[in-house]
């Protein structure tokens, strides 16, 4: 309760300064982009790493530039998983099988990095959820 009041107080004081919630500067967007691209770079490093799994195999051995991962089609029905699956579930499928590794949690920073890299290499392709 005390916390809510404090937040409200900050909110009031900011609006008193005439700030708007959606206001950001070029410096802000540059920083957001940089943060994102840093995570993409982490993702690329994991993608080409022989230590993500246990057998030394890397995602990049079969998916150069993350090709054939089709992030634009997720979520989609995966016959072999028997349900509508998210991209992270297919990532984990490949972690467990060709890499003989342990699946990552959906919000594991490594998973975020991998998914960022996959999407970055696929940028510009139209979203086509549910298709194959």
């Amino acid at each position: 309760m005390r916390r809510t009041l404090a937040v409200l107080a900050i909110g009031f004081s900011l609006s008193a300064l005439n700030a708007r919630a959606d206001e950001f500067t070029k410096a802000d967007t540059d920083r957001y982009q940089k943060e994102y691209l840093n995570v993409v770079a982490d993702g690329r490093a994991l993608w080409t790493s022989g230590t993500l799994g246990t057998n030394g195999v890397a995602c990049g051995q079969c998916h150069p530039n993350a090709a054939n991962t089709h992030p634009e089609t997720y979520p989609k029905f995966q016959k072999q998983l028997g349900k509508v699956a998210q991209l992270f579930e297919m990532v984990n499928w490949c972690v467990r099988n060709p890499l003989e590794g342990k699946p990552l949690a959906a919000d594991d920073p490594k998973m975020t990095a991998i998914i960022s890299y996959v999407n970055q290499e696929r940028r510009g392709v139209k979203l086509a959820p549910g298709t194959h």
Partner: protein, 359 residues
């Protein structure tokens, strides 16, 4: 034996009542007529095994299974092929242990073996141990009226090879990443081109020529080294001959093309398939328009979109029969009327299935 039979082939064999047969194997070879005195013959082509050491005596099971299966099946075909080509990338990181382990599997082949150098065999010790096992890196031989040439097409600039990297391991790692921007374009180089010119000077222009290289002797997509930098110069040496065929590995997928007198056929990997370069959204590729692409691989079937091939040159031109595990076999053969290779079943757009754009 039963270990080699896949679920799909067991079901198909069961349905046909022919229990225990490998349904992907052709029962007998198709014989094509060719004028002259040559005997018909077939050779086997196995490529891109990428034997990968994990530690000590343990190796990646998936890649081992691909090579073992190809060798076992190649030994079963009737009539036996005259020889076996291994198309390069026997090892993943060029290590002695990997070349020995792969060599041990290949040693079970019953026919004579010829080998092509791949970049994964080369960039650790610059082909030294490979050459101890398999001999010269470029050579030619004649067999039943056909002149066969083997090139080492995966060389690159001296500066990159000899001066850029602090260790041999790093040099190998940099070249091993297909999409690695630090790698370097493949080339045959002047020394081998001069050798090739002399080698071909003794050969009549009527003699069918088959050239084996690891990288395509044509330019498809530089970003993944589906590429040979001096491809045009090599092609110019080959163009005067009436029937020239280039067979290459490295691309882990079916490709074929015709440039002037030269027909190009790629072969499959036993280890894993690669996406076609046009599936990479950020770059342009030049996949030959003649190629009817493979289905996308199904990761739920470990051996899908890998395999090996039976090849004949009985018409003076290559007919390649792709033995595709967990998938329908395909045959790509030269069509003498059209003057280019075609897929015998799927070339006509009306004959194509709805491409499997998913698994």
């Amino acid at each position: 034996m039963s270990k080699l039979i896949t679920r799909r082939s067991v079901m198909a064999a069961g349905a046909a009542g022919a229990v225990g047969t490998l349904t992907t194997l052709p029962i007998s070879m198709v014989r094509l007529a060719f004028g002259g005195t040559r005997d018909d013959f077939t050779f086997t082509y196995i490529s891109d095994a990428h034997i990968q050491q994990i530690k000590g005596a343990s190796f990646v099971r998936n890649w081992d299974m691909g090579l073992k299966r190809a060798v076992a099946e190649a030994n079963l075909i009737q009539p036996e092929s005259d020889f076996v080509m291994f198309g390069g990338d026997l090892a993943q990181l060029g290590k002695k242990d990997e070349l020995d382990h792969g060599g041990e599997i290949l040693s079970h082949l019953s026919s004579k073996l010829h080998c092509v150098m791949g970049e994964h065999d080369y960039y650790f010790d610059l082909g030294e141990y490979w050459s101890k096992l398999y001999g010269p890196q470029y050579y030619s031989f004649d067999h039943k009226g056909v002149h066969f040439v083997v090139l080492n097409s995966i060389l690159t600039f001296d500066e990159w090879t000899f001066r850029r990297w602090p260790t041999a391991e790093q040099r190998m790692q940099e070249m091993a990443g297909l999409d690695n921007p630090n790698s370097s374009p493949f080339m045959v180089g002047e020394k081998q081109r001069n050798w090739l010119r002399e080698d071909l000077a003794k050969i009549s222009h009527e003699t069918p020529i088959v050239v084996f290289s690891h990288s395509p002797l044509q330019k498809i997509y530089k970003g993944w080294n589906f590429w040979t930098d001096d491809a045009e110069e090599v092609q110019a040496l080959l163009q005067p001959f009436n029937s020239v065929n280039v067979i290459y590995g490295h691309v882990h997928q079916i490709q074929y093309n015709q440039i002037g007198n030269i027909s190009f056929n790629s072969v499959m990997a036993t280890a894993w398939p690669w996406p076609y370069p046009q599936s990479y959204a950020q770059a342009e590729s030049h996949l030959p328009v003649l190629t009817v692409p493979m289905n996308r691989g199904d990761p739920f079937f470990e051996r899908d979109a890998t395999g090996w091939q039976l090849i004949d040159v009985n018409s003076g031109r290559v007919a390649a029969r792709y033995q595709l595990w967990d998938n329908e076999p395909r045959t790509v053969a030269f069509d003498h009327k059209q003057g280019r290779p075609v897929d015998l079943a799927f070339q006509e757009p009306t004959n194509r299935r709805l491409p499997q754009s998913h698994y």
